[in-house]
Symmetry: C2
Subunit: 261 residues, 2 copies
Amino acid sequence: MSHNETTSSQEMALAHVLADAAGEVLRARFRKPLNLERKGDSSPVTEADRAAESAMAALIRARFPDHGIFGEEHARENAESRWQWVLDPIDGTRAFLAGYPTFTTLIALCLDGAPVLGVIDQPFLRERWTAEAGGVTLLNGERVRAQARRLEDAVLATTSSDYFTPAQAAAYAKLRARCASAIAGGDAYASAMLASGCVGAVVDAALKPYDYCALVPIVEGAGGVITDWRGKPLTLDSDGSLAAACCPEAHRAMLAELGKQ
Amino acid sequence: MSHNETTSSQEMALAHVLADAAGEVLRARFRKPLNLERKGDSSPVTEADRAAESAMAALIRARFPDHGIFGEEHARENAESRWQWVLDPIDGTRAFLAGYPTFTTLIALCLDGAPVLGVIDQPFLRERWTAEAGGVTLLNGERVRAQARRLEDAVLATTSSDYFTPAQAAAYAKLRARCASAIAGGDAYASAMLASGCVGAVVDAALKPYDYCALVPIVEGAGGVITDWRGKPLTLDSDGSLAAACCPEAHRAMLAELGKQ
């Protein structure tokens, strides 16, 4: 099997199939009694999480047996491949457990470490954001765009300030004070809402590749800017910090605040 | 016009009309460009908030002209009446602004200060929880029930620990450490999810009557327990603290932790 250096519709076609499969697993379990377990990092994990990832991994193996698979729940496969599928079956496990429909399934494809395809899927609401590098972001097939705003007129979203170091928390507090509104929670849904024009800025830290890779094409394809806190592009090897904004001006202003930590 | 000492279907019939009217206003404005303003407490308020409350107030005046109206956005009316409609057109303004479908419209009717009818309405998802004092809680007409759990197996929800005093924050941290999972955000949606069996405990502070009155019949009608942090029933005159749990045992354990502050 040969590939161009950019993704083509066959990869996006598979991504839709993966999202469909994960969504079927998650819809059947959402708002149903679940076993709560604790991993080493004490985040709750459910059987739903593992089942959805297994379903996606099986489909990738069948279609692109040489591609890598890098998921939250299972061991990496084909880690040496230039093509890596990066999967988070339930981003926002806490929201999933609480019954809030703001958890998402994240699917990314990276080429040489750079995200070239992203899907953010909310299976309960049947909202699916998709984008390929260099293309436009679609929500259920319709183009969406970030809304350019000054930070002073923007909603700032973060998953939780619990994940910040003290220095990061101080930088976040300054940024938050500049913004019109701030909201905690939402995880990747915050970046989807940035792509849809509601959220103006997203800041997070201590993320894993499966938390952020899918967001890159989605935010960029909507006209937003997404980097780490130093302004570097997000790749498989990034430091886990994320700074996304609705427009270049807001992103520059955001990095100026975050760079003070 | 005369009233029995308990609510009857005419009040619930009006409550549905109010929720329909507010929902129409909010659906038309959700995820659309909004003017962000700041009130004295710096929370963002939108024109949607005021328009939805005005629509509900007009309907109450027309149907029960002697009843009191106590909303977030406008001056109180008929404050001396034994019957008080307590309205929060958008509970979770931050979620509304961010495009998250976890904001709700809250409608309560209080008799002599005690909530006797409650509605939690999510107009974008068209989810409506309803209950009258002494009755059962319905979600879109279907009975829902809290799921009895130990705190150790429960999801704990709070709107934001930003609203806690240092002593309250310390008590919350202890409670949080006992629970299986914790989630920030959600506002009244957390109590709706308690009534639907997902969330096990909700703790909040610094609430206003329009933030909590509607939750009382909803939580109780689903088999849960809802009081202030001292275990006292929630009325129009409560201190703004809220401790709700999925069952009496979890509630007792919760109050034991919160009582330490």
